[in-house]
Subunit: 406 residues, 2 copies
């Protein structure tokens, strides 16, 4: 097939949404304890104030702050101790003028008090509290709603659940969440030369790599419902892709290494129910021989056979599309560093150059990783990439570059 | 209890290893398909060359390169086409002088050939191949062992398994791996004021937060074998911690918010079989009221009750210790940015200042996040931290700072 009418990377999502207007993320309700890494389907608002009461942030005595004014080492202020508030108690005590009540960290401040004096600054003689320095209004108190106000949006739609987010949700008693349902993926590796895990390996053959890299890359945000190797036979491939579209949202067909596979894949997609290939090649390097099509409302990608190309296309197209469908915030993980070598761009194609980083005198140095097409070790040696646009001539050594993480 | 004899952060690991010399990571054998995120227990060497044969990286014809010398648009070089090599075939064909054999991408180069001419540059007339440009020796060929050599170390002990690593292992037929066994954790939240998921919440109480943040933070590299809330009762706590040491490698006791809990925890640990508290406070902010002890060879942490303090101590002490025990490579994820505000350090304590980042004209701006002690929303607003050493006076606005990710 010819890859002359390649699509530019910036036009891909638009084209996909035009062709499958029904494509969207769906809702699922899960338990908080299983939510790590998931993406929120809707804003989460607080149903209560946090704290729900004026809370002490220290161990000490609740007093009226103005009654401590002028207290000093020489002339202490005196208070009458009137019991204590226990942890977890919904106290109805009311502090009167000249009184002090003991309150531990986290417990409720009694009505009438507006500040806490830390135990370290207190001297106690029987029922009398002596303090030697003044405290200001609201000192050592977290006021009702100061952390989170009722109806405040705590986490927005599209936020990814981190351990820290889980903590905030638990503090509000939110133990169930609406998140985006994981997209279901089928992974089909094609090629007569491919040998799977349970097949005998013979010289001349190549072990299946892409189904492993792709399924692990998907693990973080999707669900792999099946993984299979299909030989280079038109009828078999048609049958298997058809089956996959019935049980998945997205089908990834990873070519073997032969160019002929792309022809098969393209023909097969066109023959499916509501089948159409609408992207015939993408103007990127690596990853040019990528095709995108559909069967009714199911999305189908024909990925390149080379392991690096296949994972690059997955990360920059498939993963980004899912993130868009889930309205994901903070999508791009990147940092800046200094380029260690000159880099040439490829005319007419956006280049994704694999790199790794080293540290030299507090500076992050970005080293391009080179190797022949199809080398698997390029993958273990690199941990990110930089993008060379079609309109740049290249980048010179010493430039400050933006590095994206895998 | 007094926290006057606090331990410096740099001395903590040394002390732990002195007190529990048997502490180490153990081995477990798992399937490749379940290995994402795990840490390799030993170096992985290749048992074979990759590729195992000279492999074509293009679709085209295998020839002897010296026979293409001088070929040009005007004067092509001629070859006799002698069949083809199929994908996956262990060919015994031998190329003789003046011959060309078709080889698809990924297939084996026949003996006698030393280069591939791409199909795009070929003209075919019956059994004759005409080429209009010379090719150099080894052009478009990946030589035997060029990607990975036999006995080469592919991944070192301590490497974390990424989707890319999985691909390289699959390419070598390695479908089982020795990884570090996950450390087993018990999480005990203490405090009369704490309310768990299945308990009724009343005003004055505080919902359990730390068991949620900690268990999710552990999820990435450990296994939470139990999670429980224990009331402020000496005997109950002693009994429960004892039970936990029997089923876990590491016990995390997260204090409620009251200082009294630390006394309980400290006494309880001392009373256990082979019990001892050897760290009474750490010179960090937040996280000072942290205690570390043991029961025989089981490690016990008494973490602060404040959610932020507890997760900070977990990340900078517990997590780093586990990473050390697993010989983890590339431990610290960090980047550099420009500080947006002046920051003061705390005399005598290493300060971990929570921050988030914004982007301004291609520069990463680091914004300190401030808030009262115990505020849970500090956690959702920040996504990393910077470290202010005890010996710095602080950092001025506009400084270039190193930011660690959570």
């Amino acid at each position: 097939m010819d890859f002359l009418k390649v699509t530019e990377i910036k036009d891909i999502e638009k084209l996909i949404f035009e062709k499958i207007p029904t494509l969207k993320g769906n809702k699922e309700i899960i338990k908080l304890e299983n939510s790590l890494g998931r993406i929120l389907y809707e804003d989460i608002k607080s149903k209560e104030n946090i704290p729900e009461f004026n809370r002490s942030t220290v161990d000490g005595y609740a007093i009226k702050s103005r009654e401590s004014q002028g207290a000093s080492q020489g002339i202490p202020a005196f208070f009458t101790i009137k019991g204590e508030v226990s942890m977890g108690e919904n106290t109805e005590k009311e502090l009167k003028s000249g009184e002090a009540i003991y309150v531990p960290t986290g417990a409720m401040i009694p009505a009438g008090a507006d500040s806490m004096i830390m135990i370290e600054y207190c001297e106690i003689l029987d029922d009398t509290l002596l303090i030697h320095k003044p405290v200001s209004k609201y000192e050592n108190i977290m006021l009702l709603g100061e952390d989170i106000k009722i109806d405040e949006i705590i986490l927005e739609k599209g936020s990814q659940i981190t351990p820290e987010n889980v903590g905030v949700l638990a503090s509000m008693g939110i133990y169930q969440l609406s998140v985006f349902k994981k997209f279901r993926f089928s992974i089909i590796s094609t090629g007569d030369e491919l040998v799977g895990e349970n097949e005998e390996y013979k010289k001349g053959k190549i072990r299946d790599i892409n189904s492993y890299t792709l399924s692990h890359a998907i693990e973080n945000f999707g669900e792999v419902v099946e993984k299979k190797i299909v030989r280079d036979n038109y009828e078999t491939l048609l049958e298997e892709v058809k089956k996959s579209t019935e049980i998945s949202d997205i089908v990834l067909i990873s070519g073997g290494s032969s160019a002929g596979n792309y022809d098969y894949t393209s023909k097969v997609i066109s023959q499916l129910d509501g089948g159409e290939v609408f992207i015939h090649g993408i103007s990127i390097k690596p990853g040019k021989p990528t095709i995108v099509g559909k069967s009714n409302d199911k999305l189908i990608f024909g990925l390149p056979g080379h392991p690096i190309s296949s994972i690059v296309v997955f990360n920059i197209i498939v993963k980004k599309l899912i993130e868009k469908l889930c309205h994901k915030k903070d999508k791009e993980e990147f940092y800046y560093g200094i380029l260690s070598h000159n880099l040439h761009s490829t005319p007419g194609r956006t280049t994704y150059q694999m790199v790794n980083k080293t540290i030299d005198e507090g500076e992050i140095i970005i080293n391009p990783i080179f190797g022949k097409s199809g080398m698997t070790t390029l993958m273990t040696k690199s941990n990110g990439y930089i993008i060379l646009d079609t309109d740049t001539e290249g980048l010179v050594k010493g430039s400050r570059v933006k590095v994206y993480k895998f």
